[in-house]
């Protein structure tokens, strides 16, 4: 098959060795690459009983057939392994240029095994692989460590690093590249920390042959031109390159999609006035900061020049504004941006961090936590300086509450008790993303049934049907009515197709945000085919997504998933809000909808893939 190297690099930190491994074509034909390839590695190598911080856990950094082509969105790449936040297999995605460089070094994946004796980082320069002492960078924040490694190895190296939260095993610790992109969810920074791996530097000089370079080049040019034209045609206040995802707060507020006060309220007018939108550009001096080859340029570099929250660096994304701002009733935009960048330097996922802080604020409000627990910090709703101080306590893993909150709100609430489990807005141990199930019931179904990273918004993004008006017409989802936000009628099919779609995208690998500028399934299929030569139909491409979903599900089962986990949703799901378009809307009937989803999948009523379904997908045995 073209577009891949048929080769992964295994780096064993225990044995201090690096070896390459041939991967047969049929693995790619089944699971494509990226997250699919990472799941395949787990299936092959990590038996039942392997846990996230076990040296036997495989941490896989993977690319797909798209890396190396000059298409907007093709800088994306994937990571997979057993997650410390959900204690099962999971995936996450990250962008900029590290994945492209990894591909040019001649690998489809870097698989990290074992645990080093002392802190290390890995340097990959085409076929030269070295494991180096990280004493100089251990204890540094993610950006400092990144810069020190790049200074030592050379500017041409692309680098990933984790910060203190990763070293100290915060369960939602992430890792970053280039100070701007993060494998945010599922705690893979902590998996790096558990292996005493501070970072990886990679440089490559090879071009991976693709099936039809001429057709691919023409396609890339046409797609890039169209995406740029669509972006330029939008009003400035809704232009991706102008606002990035910070645009979304103004668009989601009227839909009731924002999380407010730990998902208790329908709106936060001061937040709507101050967080995101045009004030993001004006007050934070946001400037586009594009990834390689990207024409929509959603990342921003910001600068706050004066005051207690002065900083220069990554601008907050929608999810950070939502979870660290709206969800905490904080409307100080500079404080939210500053706290987000602090979290970035410590390497903490701002979605989980916002969920954890909201749990702590509600616990403080209800007297379950007191100032004796909070180091004297007045953890009341809306207190921006308290948020900033608690971010530091968690990132440092300060003894007491700071340490406990690094475990996530599930473990924290179980430890603290007093009924606080009821306001821990999490599933399977991970805090829920910033799309409100009351605005579209399908979000509740998505959070309950996710197989690739718990209650996530990018491993199954069916909320986009309404919050982004994204459809999959080539797969039969070509029109929805607004009233269907609160209907289960077609939810099973739609949720399944969006999960499969995400799996194809995350395995190809491509950036889902391009879809907001008109990227579509026809573009995706044409790109995969011109890269690989697979010559799939739309149906065959969807089958690939379905196979990856079923592989991930089988891994869930291997690592301990039980049916009850999908039904253990937060009580707050069934608590209505009293105002806005979603007033009174609660997803009653969710249990039946979950079973309908299982049946649509061809699984049994307990959510286990049937033998017939696995046979239909050709998965009685897994290739390779």
């Amino acid at each position: 098959m073209k577009g891949v190297w048929n080769k992964i690099l295994n780096v064993d930190l225990t044995e201090k060795s690096a070896t390459t491994e041939h991967v047969p074509d049929d693995v790619y034909a089944y699971f494509l690459g990226g997250e699919g390839l990472a799941a395949w590695v787990l299936h092959k190598e990590c038996p039942r009983g392997t846990t996230a911080f076990d040296p036997a856990n495989r941490l896989t950094f993977a690319v797909g057939p798209m890396q190396g082509i000059k298409q907007s969105g093709a800088a994306k790449w994937a990571v997979g392994g057993i997650s410390p936040s959900i204690n099962m297999n999971a995936g996450s995605a990250i962008t900029h240029a590290f994945g492209i460089e990894m591909k040019q070094a001649g690998y489809d994946a870097i698989v990290v095994h074992g645990r080093a004796e002392k802190p290390v980082y890995i340097v990959i320069d085409d076929d030269k692989v070295r494991i180096k002492d990280a004493a100089r960078v251990w204890g540094k924040d993610a950006y400092e460590a990144h810069d020190l490694i790049q200074e030592k190895e050379g500017e041409r190296f692309e680098v990933v690093t984790t910060g203190l939260a990763g070293e100290r095993l915060v369960r939602y610790a992430n890792f970053q590249t280039a100070h701007k992109s993060f494998a945010g969810r599922c705690g893979f920074g902590a998996v790096m920390g558990s292996k005493l791996l501070k970072g990886i530097a990679v440089r490559g000089s090879q071009t991976c042959p693709i099936a039809d370079p001429k057709a691919n080049d023409a396609l890339n040019k046409a797609i890039n031109k169209r995406l740029a034209a669509v972006n330029a045609s939008k009003p400035e206040q809704f232009r991706i390159s102008h606002l990035g995802t910070a645009m979304a707060t103004a668009l989601f507020a009227p839909q009731g999609n924002l999380p407010v006060k730990n998902y208790r309220l329908a709106s936060h007018p001061e937040g709507e006035a101050n967080l995101g939108g045009q004030s993001y550009v004006e007050k934070l001096n946001a400037k586009p900061w594009p990834c390689r080859y990207c024409v929509i340029k959603c990342h921003n570099k910001c600068e706050v020049k004066h005051g207690p929250y002065a900083y220069k660096g990554k601008g907050p994304e929608y999810e950070s504004f939502a979870m660290m701002g709206f969800n905490l009733l904080i409307d100080d935009q500079e404080a939210v941006a500053y706290a987000g960048e602090l979290a970035n330097r410590y390497s903490m996922d701002t979605i989980s961090l916002g969920g954890v802080l909201a749990w702590a604020m509600e616990s403080y409000e209800k007297g379950v936590l007191t100032s004796a627990d909070t180091y004297g910090i007045d953890l009341v709703w809306g207190n921006a300086s308290a948020m900033v101080e608690m971010v530091k306590k968690i990132g440092e893993r300060a003894p007491g509450l700071g340490y406990l909150l690094g475990e996530g709100c599930k473990i924290a609430s179980e430890r603290i008790g007093h009924g606080s489990e009821q306001w821990a807005i999490q599933m399977k141990g991970q805090e829920i993303a910033a799309h409100n199930w009351r605005a579209q019931y399908i979000s509740a179904l998505n959070y309950c049934t996710g197989v690739a990273s718990g209650p996530n918004h990018e491993r199954g993004n069916s909320q986009h049907i309404w919050v982004g008006h994204i459809l999959l017409p080539e797969w039969g989802i070509d029109h929805v009515e607004n009233a269907e936000r609160w209907s289960w009628e077609k939810a099973a099919e739609r949720n399944a197709k969006f999960h499969d779609y995400c799996n194809v995208i995350n395995s190809a690998v491509h950036c889902k945000f391009q879809e907001f500028a008109s990227y579509n399934l026809t573009d995706l299929l044409g790109t995969i085919n011109t890269c690989t030569g697979l010559n799939w139909s739309q149906e065959e491409m969807r089958r690939c997504g379905e196979r990856i979903t079923n592989l991930q599900k089988q891994l869930n089962i291997r690592y301990g998933w039980k049916t009850v986990d999908d039904f253990s949703y937060p009580r707050r799901f069934m608590e209505p809000v009293s105002e806005g378009v979603a007033a009174g809307k609660i997803p009653t009937g969710l249990e039946d909808a979950i079973v309908d989803y299982y049946r649509y999948r061809g699984w049994d009523d307990g959510g286990y893939p049937t033998a017939a379904k696995l046979k239909e997908l050709g998965m009685e045995t897994i290739p390779g």
Binding site: A229, V230, F238, F252, E317, G468, H469, P473, A517
Partner: protein
């Protein structure tokens, strides 16, 4: 005659003008709270049309006649993480 709308086949009357399809599509989404909000903020729904790979300017919508085999897509100006 046959065209493709958002990647799927659609049968329409010959000599249909693009603006007629636009009106139909605008009608479909008029009750969406985000569309209502967008109209309040910007005076229009901001649906964007792409005909055979090229973005159609709003002022050209009334004059364009759809042709057999045309590939039409529409997108919304939304973006969210």
């Amino acid at each position: 005659m046959k065209i493709t709308l958002n990647g799927t086949p659609l049968e329409i009357e010959p000599e249909t003008r693009l603006i007629a399809l636009v009106d139909q599509l605008e009608e479909r989404v008029k009750n969406d709270p985000m569309i209502i909000s967008l109209i309040q903020k910007t005076g229009k729904s901001n649906l964007l049309f792409i005909l055979n790979g090229a973005v159609v300017k709003a002022e050209d919508l009334p004059t364009i006649e759809i042709q057999e085999g045309d590939d039409l897509r529409y997108v919304h100006p939304f973006f969210g993480g």
